[in-house]
Assembly symmetry: C3
Homo-oligomer: 134 residues x 3
């Protein structure tokens, strides 16, 4: 098992950071071949997902729709005032997995892996794990 | 690690295709025993999930509710006009995992695995991986 | 591969049960070291997710928001009357994975793993699997 903790800095309340290039570089550095790359977000107001990375309007539409469905203020009880971020993180999820073959993340043609900040700006961590599968 | 890419043809904009029978057949053909079966959708307007496969009204209700929450037209910015499909794919997710024991997918009594088309009809791929776990 | 089926009893229609303490005890009993802990819910009206376990108002806000987005009655077709539970389970998802290092679940500081009952009270099962990763 290989593991690395990435540090990510976000600069807005909601911000989706592409991860492919950085993660592919780490996998290449490890020299791994075939297995599963697991992305894990150890925070409760951030998530991770895979979707289109080509047209930035796609993630803008995702952000706007999440804001429409889960408004920042909506009579929440949690005293810190960031319940919307906890709820969005629950809907999107805090982990994803991508197959690695011959050392390459097997993403689809238009796919990008996004770290999803819902309560920034903050300094965040992402736990990257590689599970070897012979 | 075992891997196979399934080709799926959808015939409507929104369509959920059951996968259990086909995938169980592939696992049996491989002769695998214990491990993790990982389902990965390499598309950005389709997803995958596990839910009831018995009464077709269940997936009809899931489809209708996703359409109500994320309407096809809603002032989106993405020029291709299929932002709703990207958003639904993000909410549902593009991968799932099911335990395999003695060569059998360990689904619950009412569970079925569904490929979720949100922008069909199209020809799609599903990446099926088996991670051996002794 | 290690596996155990946990039995969980819920006492309300919607109830989120924390799992960390119980699962960590099982992992310790197994004496496992490094790998992936996979949580799998074999039901179609319950889910699993990771989010804040400190302030109970957070999960209360998550429950209320899911109820607002997916009301119990909304002209559903499924005759059993619990379509909302199927839909919530689909949105939240029925499996999660957490890294295990030196025998410890690598949760973030505020993270708790919750079994999400959406159609209780019931007696439920949770399939816990540990995938060894040397």
């Amino acid at each position: 098992m290989k593991k690395e903790i990435l540090t990510l800095k976000t600069s807005a309340r909601t911000e989706f950071l592409p991860l492919f290039q950085k993660v592919q570089g780490i996998l290449s550095g490890w020299g791994v071949k075939d297995g599963l790359c697991v992305f894990y977000v150890p925070h409760t107001t951030a998530g991770i997902f895979v979707n289109e990375g080509c047209d930035p309007d796609v993630i803008r539409d995702i952000q706007n729709t999440l804001d429409r469905l889960v408004p920042w203020q909506e009579g929440y009880h949690h005293i810190e005032g960031n319940s919307a971020a906890h709820i969005k993180a629950t809907l999107v999820g805090n982990s994803r997995q991508v197959l690695v073959e011959n050392g390459r993340l097997q993403l689809g043609r238009w796919e990008e892996i996004f770290f999803a900040e819902f309560d920034g700006p903050r300094t965040r961590q992402l736990i990257l794990t590689f599970i070897d599968a012979k």
